[in-house]
């Protein structure tokens, strides 16, 4: 049995899982900061 597909699948799946783990908080942080900044700008305009 050739082992290559199993090794390849292991590395690809692990990379995908780690990429998700690393990127998801970065994207959420960016979105949250943007949202907070917008709100702040909005509030300052009202004052």
């Amino acid at each position: 049995m050739s082992h290559t597909p199993f090794i390849l699948a292991s590395y690809l799946i692990s990379a995908a899982v780690l990429l998700w783990a690393a990127l998801s908080p970065m994207f959420s942080q960016r979105a949250l900061l943007k949202q907070l900044k917008n709100r702040q700008a909005h509030m300052e305009k009202e004052q």
């Binding site: 090794i7 292991s10 799946i13 692990s14 780690l18 942080q29 949250l32």
Partner: protein, 244 residues
């Protein structure tokens, strides 16, 4: 104040933690990147195939570090949960709950790579032996901690409940570790123990480097998740407004 106590005190302060971790994260990612490049090069190109498993031994460089880390993170969560429950340090609560998705991710990696190694080596993707089953239970415990935390509106109460579950769930760790000794399992015993290692140095070095690299990943990822969590909780507080 003594420098150590000052550090401890500061760590408990969200604005200070936010600033400090922001400076630390790039260095942790750098450490992870450098070690991973070295470890993968050694593991995939320099290390020889195994005399029995052939090339599929290369899956070990992912599987073993992920499995180690999946257990270590749960143990740390129990310790952080304990500190959070007793001293009510909010940053500790945030660190505890931010660890859970990372631990779950590494458990998933350990289970999938183990399964992909098992097919060519054992002849099966999965068996219900004590080692594999207890590692699957660990994944459910991570999901349980996350679900319990999300079931509460109030983050501090949520963290206390989740901490309690992490502390209770820690009984699973010795079961995972000793399963291969206590019961007949398909999974082999530990290669690395107090009596030395059953792994040839040419394979052991890439394995250890990958194991250290995975800890850097955990550190960097944990801090960015904890920062996000703090921002969410404190978005109405002054330090966040000043930050913007």
């Amino acid at each position: 104040m003594n420098r150590f106590i000052l550090f401890f005190h500061n760590t408990g302060s969200p604005p200070w933690f936010y600033r400090f971790s922001g400076k630390l994260i790039p260095w942790l990612w750098l450490g992870f990147a450098v070690l991973t490049v070295i470890g993968l090069y050694m593991g995939l190109f320099l290390a020889p195939p195994d005399y029995q498993q052939g090339e599929s031994v290369r899956i070990m460089y992912l599987h073993v570090p992920a499995a180690w880390l999946s257990m270590m993170i749960f143990g740390l969560m129990a310790i952080m949960g304990f500190i959070a429950l007793v001293w009510r340090i909010r940053v500790m609560e945030v660190l505890m709950i931010s660890s859970a998705p990372i631990g779950a991710a590494f458990t998933v990696i350990a289970l999938i790579t183990g399964s992909l190694w098992g097919r060519p080596t054992w002849g099966t993707y999965w068996v219900w032996d004590a080692r594999l089953t207890s590692e699957l239970v660990l994944l459910f415990l991570y999901f349980g901690v996350i679900a319990l935390y999300n079931a509460y509106d109030e983050p501090r109460k949520a963290a206390r409940a989740a901490s309690l579950m992490a502390i209770v769930g820690v009984v699973n760790l010795p079961i995972i570790h000793y399963s291969v000794l206590w019961w007949n399992t398909l999974h082999q015993g530990s290669s690395i123990g107090t009596s030395g290692s059953g792994i040839h140095p040419s394979m052991l070095w890439p394995l250890l480097i990958m194991a250290i690299a995975s800890k850097f990943f955990y550190g960097a990822n944990l801090l960015s998740r904890a920062r996000l969590q703090l921002l969410k909780q404190d978005h109405r507080k002054r330090w966040v407004r000043e930050l913007l």
